[in-house]
């Protein structure tokens, strides 16, 4: 702070007009990629096998093209690798390559039959951080099926699956890369005498085609017959925050109000107000409420039945506390007149628990819904966009893809030694899957026509909320795609907000801290 700003404030009233800062406008187009059909068109009778089949059918051409280019001249001992159509067509001693879905069998992965049994007889085990038992891959010769003396302690087994069957994969190559259930890969190698496939190399579909900037808006304009060439102003910044964790107690008021004042330009001095005026949009990436999920956790259910009260099936209306949603709504309504907001639901928000989570309903925001699209005209960019999780939209011409954190957290559980969240996010982009573990360990809607989690176009910005700390990097693709991936930390714990400059796509962090006296 220099002396000038002080002089601005400590002055006699003058007759000059105060310069009023204007916020940068935000060009925004939401995409309905993850919207589910409403009402009676949403069916749950179908099985998840449809989803796996559709995922394989959509990604197999891409991965086979990459694999055939890579292994056209793959030679070992004078033998070239041949392509096999089905996973079970591999022959012993023959060098070949095949594509399929990865399935990882891990002993500590939640198994629905075991869960049902345990629920009746013993207390539930504590939730696992990682699914593997620490024994290592089941394919190693020393440790493996013989180590634990049984299937339960054998360690993880990786298999490749398609419509014909499953093929167990082994080899030292596997411990190097990231693999989770549901990823589509192509592997080259040969079948050994145990019937396992020894992997020598592995390929993934890699990043899809990336649309150039402003493609969504230009495409729409061309369709409507409007002129396409438009001179566009410099875009501002986009603020991404996640994990507000409003719980209705007084403890969360101060940080939220600090953030609100900063975004509204009411705090500090004109230089940071200038920075705040350049923020054109606020994206809230999940977990705005700390306790809004409609399904009670197992501990809560046990506590409710143990209290001696009547066992409430489902929802106990007398225990509803409206304070958190009220607080969130007031906070949003204070921000909305000035800044457009995009709200993604998270794991603890009051909406569907299975992915893709549908938008938080307008009924939760009695004050904020004046800024939402009216129900008679739901299409079009709203000022306050309550959107799905995962969400895809185009802001300032760039294609954003964001989730509330559940897919990345689930992938984290599969990888035994990996703590690098950025590596997992990059792997998910290269697999072209927003939620690779989706039907297996992550609840999701049973898609029948096609897997919606397959990325058809590469985003420019991929942000994931509710991560332990802020991290960012740029991922490059084979066709020159560049994706900025951002891991957004939880605001309630770290007080950090990510500001992404929309011209350069470089993020920076603004941190709010409260200093306690003593």
């Amino acid at each position: 702070m220099n002396g000038d700003s002080h002089a601005d404030l400590l002055q006699a009233p003058g007759n000059l007009d105060h310069p009023v800062l204007e916020r940068s406008p935000s060009a925004y187009t939401p995409l309905p990629t993850y919207q589910l059909p409403k009402g009676e068109h949403r069916h749950y009778q179908q099985q998840y096998a449809d989803m796996y089949f559709a995922r394989l059918a959509q990604l197999k051409p891409a991965v086979e093209q990459i694999a055939s280019e890579a292994w056209a001249d793959f030679e070992i001992g004078g033998e070239t690798a041949s392509r096999k159509d089905r996973v079970l067509d591999v022959r012993q001693g023959e060098l070949c390559w095949v594509a399929g879905t990865v399935y990882m069998e891990m002993p500590l992965k939640p198994n629905v039959l075991e869960d049902i049994g345990k629920e009746h007889w013993i207390a539930a085990p504590p939730p696992r951080v990682k699914y593997d038992s620490g024994v290592g891959w089941g394919g190693d010769s020393e440790r493996g099926a013989h180590a634990g003396g049984g299937k339960g302690l054998a360690g993880a087994q990786i298999m490749l699956e398609d419509e014909s069957g499953r093929l167990r994969l082994t080899g030292g190559y596997l411990s190097g890369g990231l693999l989770v259930t549901g990823a589509i890969v192509a592997v080259v190698g040969t079948e050994n005498s145990d019937g396992d496939f020894e992997v020598l190399d592995l390929r993934v579909p890699d990043l899809p085609r990336q649309p150039p900037r402003w493609e969504t808006e230009d495409g729409d304009a061309a369709l409507k017959g409007k002129s396409v060439t438009k001179k566009r102003d410099n875009a501002g910044k986009v603020a991404i925050v996640s994990g507000l964790g409003v719980s209705g107690v007084e403890g969360d008021t101060l940080l939220l109000d600090l953030l609100m004042e900063h975004l509204l330009g009411e705090s500090t001095d004109p230089s940071s107000q200038q920075q705040a005026a350049s923020i054109s949009r606020l994206i809230i990436a999940g977990n705005s409420l700390s306790h809004g999920s409609p399904i009670p956790s197992r501990e809560e259910l046990a506590a409710a039945t143990k209290k001696g009260g009547r066992k409430t099936y489902g929802y106990d209306s007398s225990s509803y506390n409206a304070a958190p949603t009220d607080r969130l709504d007031q906070w949003l309504a204070a921000l909305l007149p000035s800044i457009p907001i995009t709200l993604l639901p998270g794991e603890q928000d009051p909406t569907s628990t299975s992915l893709p989570q549908q938008p938080i309903h307008a009924a939760m925001f009695p004050h904020g819904r004046a800024y939402m699209n009216p129900p008679t005209a739901p299409e079009g960019p709203g000022w306050f966009d309550s959107t799905t999780n995962p969400a895809e939209f185009s802001a300032d011409g760039w294609r954003f893809l964001g989730t509330g954190g559940q897919p990345v957290d689930d992938v984290y559980k599969y990888l035994p030694d990996c703590e690098e969240r950025l590596e997992m996010m990059e792997a998910m982009l290269r697999w072209r899957l927003t939620a690779p573990t989706a039907p297996d360990t992550l609840w999701c809607y049973p898609f029948q026509d096609g897997d919606q989690f397959v990325m058809k176009e590469c985003p420019h910005v991929y942000f994931v909320g509710n991560q332990p700390k802020f991290e960012t990097t740029v991922v490059e693709g084979p066709l020159g795609q560049q994706v900025r991936i951002v891991a957004v930390p939880r605001f309630r714990e770290t007080g950090e907000v990510v500001l992404l400059d929309c011209e350069t796509l470089v993020p920076e962090v603004v941190r709010f801290e409260i200093f306690d006296e003593g």
Binding site: P32, T33, Q35, L36, P37, E40, H43, Q45, Q46, Q47, A49, D50, F53, A54, A57, Q58, P61, E163, S164, L223, K224, G225, F447, Q448, D449, G450, D451, Q452, V454, K456
Partner: protein, 239 residues
């Protein structure tokens, strides 16, 4: 607080009424309270001989009284497939082809026709067709279908058993169900499965589409659901 009365305390055991209690008792056992089903001869009447005809009647009545569940309302799975089939039928039988409209027609028709954006295959063709498969399928003749079927049968060494009573159409449809490369056949209508396979680029045979459309036009609603689907989701478990 008023003193605790014995009758208001928690009862650990169900109360047994002693005969000294003046209240009338209810009795659910005993000969005079036996409720017999109509048609079944009461076992206690000694006058009945072990007549085989009577025994048979008892046996038949027993099986009848097991309860035939009402089969009028369809299961949820059947209802879902029926709705899928109806939706596909409505789209294919629509007269005007769906294209994207010009600016004038938007006002008249109240907006663009709803394209299903759901599913990875949505948005490509509003009714699920990539090109003119429907026209091609409608121009397929019966001889073509029979030729296709003969080619399918010649792929096998042994003839198919247990398919003597089926028409060629039904055999073609069952072979379509069992072709796993086009995806699972359970939980999805046959026409929808064909469209999905087509949109995913798996090139399903057009003769199968011709058969499905012919069955649809003939009003055969049962042909939309795979036969194994009916078997697998049957409500009645055979004992």
């Amino acid at each position: 607080m008023p003193p605790k009365r014995k009758s208001t305390g928690p009862r650990a055991v169900a109360p047994t009424r002693t005969p000294s209690n003046s209240q009338a008792t209810l009795s659910f056992h005993g000969k005079q309270n036996k409720v017999t089903k109509p048609g079944v001869v009461a076992a206690s009447t000694k006058s009945s001989k072990k007549d085989p005809a009577v025994l048979e009647e008892v046996a038949r009545a027993d099986t009848k009284s097991e309860g035939t569940p009402e089969i009028e309302e369809p299961t949820k799975a059947e209802a879902a497939i029926a709705q899928q089939a109806k939706g596909e039928e409505a789209e294919t039988l629509r007269a005007e082809p769906v294209q994207h409209y010009g600016a004038e027609e938007i006002g008249v028709l109240g907006g663009r026709a709803q394209e299903s954006e759901v599913g990875a295959t949505g948005g490509k063709g509003a009714a699920g067709w990539v090109s003119d498969e429907e026209a091609q399928a409608r121009s397929v003749t019966e001889t073509q279908i029979k030729r296709y079927w003969r080619a399918k049968e010649s792929e096998r060494l042994a003839p198919r058993v247990h398919q003597e009573g089926l028409t060629v159409f039904e055999k073609v449809l069952r072979e379509w169900d069992m072709s796993g490369q086009y995806g699972p056949c359970i939980g999805i209508a046959r026409l929808k499965r064909w469209k999905r396979a087509n949109l995913l680029g798996l090139k399903p045979p057009v003769e199968v589409l011709a058969v499905v459309l012919k069955e649809m036009e003939a009003g055969n609603a049962k042909a939309q659901r795979a036969h194994v689907d009916e078997l697998m989701s049957s409500r009645f478990v055979e004992t």
